[in-house]
Symmetry: C2
């Protein structure tokens, strides 16, 4: 896998405002495997503000959400020896999203979003996520992601 996991979702699963490659208005988050963990990067717009100088918490929750489902896809494929290619990446949706705002997240900085596998079953993946700016952890979270069946919505 050389591209982001979101670039391997089926077209029908690529419309997500947070991470879909086919949603031109969305954030188009891209999640990669790096060693044993996952990373994404995102620089918020200047209007994604909570209070002067700090990033809007709803955006941070959204990034954790999409990084969590993307990471779930990566970890699930690895666990099940699925060779990722166009466009077979397993698609997960969120069952639970839990976010802790540890410190205010500064605007106008690139956010590093990291994912670590916590638990995996036949159709559920739980990941621990953190958002880091200049080596400081600003937000932590946990995403419980549920595998969508291939024929969902068809």
């Amino acid at each position: 896998m050389i591209k982001a996991i979101q670039d391997y979702y089926d077209d029908d699963f690529s419309l997500c405002y947070g991470c879909g490659r086919l949603n031109p208005k969305g954030h188009q988050l891209k999640t990669y495997l790096k060693n044993n963990d996952t990373i994404s990067k995102h620089t918020p717009k200047n209007y994604h503000i909570a209070i002067e100088g700090f990033v809007y918490g709803g955006l941070l929750a959204s990034l954790i959400d999409c990084h969590g489902t993307g990471s779930a896809s990566i970890f699930y494929a690895r666990e099940n020896s699925i060779e990722i290619k166009n466009y077979n990446a397993p698609r997960f949706v969120t069952g639970n999203l839990n976010v802790n705002y540890i410190k205010p997240t500064p605007l106008q900085k690139e956010l590093l979003i990291k994912g670590v596998l916590k638990e995996i079953t036949s159709r559920k993946v739980i990941t621990s996520i953190s958002i880091v700016v200049n080596d400081v952890i600003c937000v932590t979270g946990e995403v419980t992601a549920i595998l969508l069946p291939d024929n969902f919505g068809k």
Copy 2:
């Protein structure tokens, strides 16, 4: 209080992408007291999509977040007999946001967001939130909101 609680935040606290009256690019969520509980309404844009026909979970988390902080302000003012007027509404930020996606939330519908007070202390308010479409609960959540000092950022 006849306007939404967000219309009574100080200008400096009204920039939020989710609910700030001074953020023209944002959602401008408006939260009202109704009997003992709180309500907001929001109709997502057609590009706020997760999968065809359903609302993006990051937006739903964002609405719960801002409804939670707005509700915290309303409940805190009521508890402390603060008469809300221009522009003295207490401003809360989110410490923890926990969201359960119960059912896919249909697009192109008005979402009703409801808040119920769960716990209140001298600087923390916890609310239980639900997002309802056509009388069906699609999402539930809990927001732990922390009171900002008046002089925050000044």
